[in-house]
Symmetry: C2
Subunit: 193 residues, 2 copies
């Protein structure tokens, strides 16, 4: 069988898994239930994935990649802390709204990863948060942002951003751009000197 057809099936499984994991939570979805939705037998999964957990791994680390790829572009393009933060927020929101199912898994079900993947995942998250922390510190040092606790500020920013997957509706009132704009305004106005 051609390589691309294989990839298609694997992606199809990942897509359906994302959707079911999001709906019911990773632990509440059995291989047999997943199989029903894909249209194969549970045992057939093992031609594509090593284990149930490896499907979860795929989803979580793929999302991490997305976040990193996007933010790296922002960092290389912008130079001023407040402008970088604005663009970083936009980048983050774009990734979430473009992958709401995967986001739910990324934000809720990562905890079911076993070692060493759990540690690897947490390390990636820490790195990503540090990018934001650095931006904020620079903004404070340059007198653009009010001097608040960095960790506290970063946590609060991520809190408001990371909840968007829960209520974002592609057919709803707000476009991803509008959400990013509103959040940027709310957050930056709260921070600005």
């Amino acid at each position: 069988m051609p390589k691309d057809k294989t990839i298609k099936r694997k992606d199809q499984i990942t897509l359906i898994a994302q959707n079911k994991f999001r709906e019911k939570g990773y632990r509440a979805v059995s291989m047999r239930e997943l199989a029903d939705h894909v249209g194969i037998e549970a045992a057939s999964f093992y031609n594509h994935f090593d284990s149930k957990e490896s499907i979860l791994k795929e989803i979580c680390f793929r999302m991490a990649d997305e976040f990193f790829n996007r933010i790296e572009i922002v960092i290389n393009e912008e130079k001023l802390p407040d402008k970088i933060l604005e663009k970083a927020i936009e980048s983050h929101i774009k990734v979430i709204t473009a992958n709401t199912d995967a986001s739910a898994v990324f934000f809720l079900d990562w905890r079911y990863l076993s070692e060493p993947y759990l540690s690897e995942f947490l390390e990636l998250r820490r790195k990503y948060e540090n990018i934001f922390r650095k931006i904020i510190k620079e903004g404070m040092d340059k007198g653009l942002f009010e001097k608040l606790d960095e960790t506290f500020t970063v946590l609060t920013i991520f809190s408001s951003l990371n909840w968007v997957y829960e209520w974002y509706d592609p057919k709803g009132r707000f476009t991803p751009d509008q959400i990013a704009e509103n959040l940027s305004k709310l957050i930056l106005d709260g921070m600005r000197k």
Copy 2:
């Protein structure tokens, strides 16, 4: 056996359950694992609870009660929208920081409730959110807050508040009061006209 001793045991189970559910997620904690930590056999739970799910129910609805009890006091005491919002935020943070384990279950594991409890739970949550929505609408109408989308604003406020259980540390740098104060400032400055 005396009634109060019964209540003690039930509370002890709830406390340990909260802790384990928080640590591993409701679905990942078995009755036998829970039993080990309580120091009884799994079957003995059924002298105190009808089912595993009824432990979850207890935790979720007890937290809902806490949130409502606290906020009602605030509403009866304060009259100005920005002052009410400030006090409401404080109230919310106090409940979370005083019950971090239960909060984690309340925010993450409620989805494993089955009907009709799931609907009942969601209805309570909706009611609670509406209290905040009303405060914000009043603030906007009176020209205290900038006119933004109410739903959007409420969701963003809750996002930042509801994440606190995740990082709050009783032995850490911030007291619940300081957290409430910082969040109030960040949020209200972002909203104020």
